[in-house]
Amino acid sequence: MPGLDGVSRIILPQRQWETISQHCRRKLDGDYLPGETKGPKACGLLVGAPGTNPLLVKDVFPLKKNVRNQEPYKSYMDTMMEQHAFPSKTPLSKRGWITDPEEMKQVYDAIDQDDLVVFGSYHMHIVPWKDDPVRDTPTTLDNVLAQGSNLFSFIVSAVDPSNLKIRAFYEGAIEKEVDILIQ
């Protein structure tokens, strides 16, 4: 897949934005699917055709599982949390997420035949911080975890569930934000 750092705009069709929004709201409401990790976290994958600018979101895959508290991921995330996470009212053990490899494999298998690629992931922030009340930007930890990924980090602000916002940052870097056009 070509580097994505040259992308200047992302087009997010309304239908895909609805999928993301509904996923976030459903998790906030505690309405879980069978086999889904419980808790107010929502993350998923965005796919499209590589090498296009603007980059069109062709499909969105909400993910059900968060393996953050399973080994070997737990030890890794605990260490990363201790080193990079800002203090928050949410305990470190309940913060963070990692995609399940089997679920990711299913997505790759589904899109490979259409020559599409995973070019980003989304997750939501729900707790307002004193100096960041909207929480629509990546945290330091988001940035550290995304470095070298060649993926966009889409941050969904769900501080106000009735007014979700989404922004995109290449490799989770605030200075590498790309405009999203929802249409």
């Binding site: 897949m1 393996v67 963070g96 490899p101 990711m104 494999k105 988001d142």
Partner: protein, 87 residues
């Protein structure tokens, strides 16, 4: 010969190739050959404790240890999955 399927996010390190055929015959030999041919993949392997490996669509290993225990046949397909994480 075994094939290794590379996920799209790291194909920039493999000349944009999705599928790479290696000599094998063991799992470890296959991954070693992959890294020899595409040394930039080492940057992905540095957090290797989180990498997952599938053989013929079955998850066989997460991490970079105990590879000798993974059996590989001549026409097996290895898929590499790099997890995505956030805070």
């Amino acid at each position: 010969m075994p094939k290794i399927i590379i996920p799209s996010s790291i194909r920039r390190y493999t000349d944009d190739l999705r599928e790479i055929t290696v000599e094998g015959p063991s799992f470890k030999d296959s991954i070693d050959e992959l890294l020899r041919r595409y040394p930039q993949l080492e940057s992905v392997m540095k957090n290797g404790s989180l990498l997952s490996f599938f053989v013929n669509n079955k998850l066989v290993k997460t991490g970079l240890e105990d590879w000798d225990s993974i059996q590989l046949n001549r026409d097996d397909e290895i898929s590499l999955i790099v997890p995505i994480a956030g805070g």
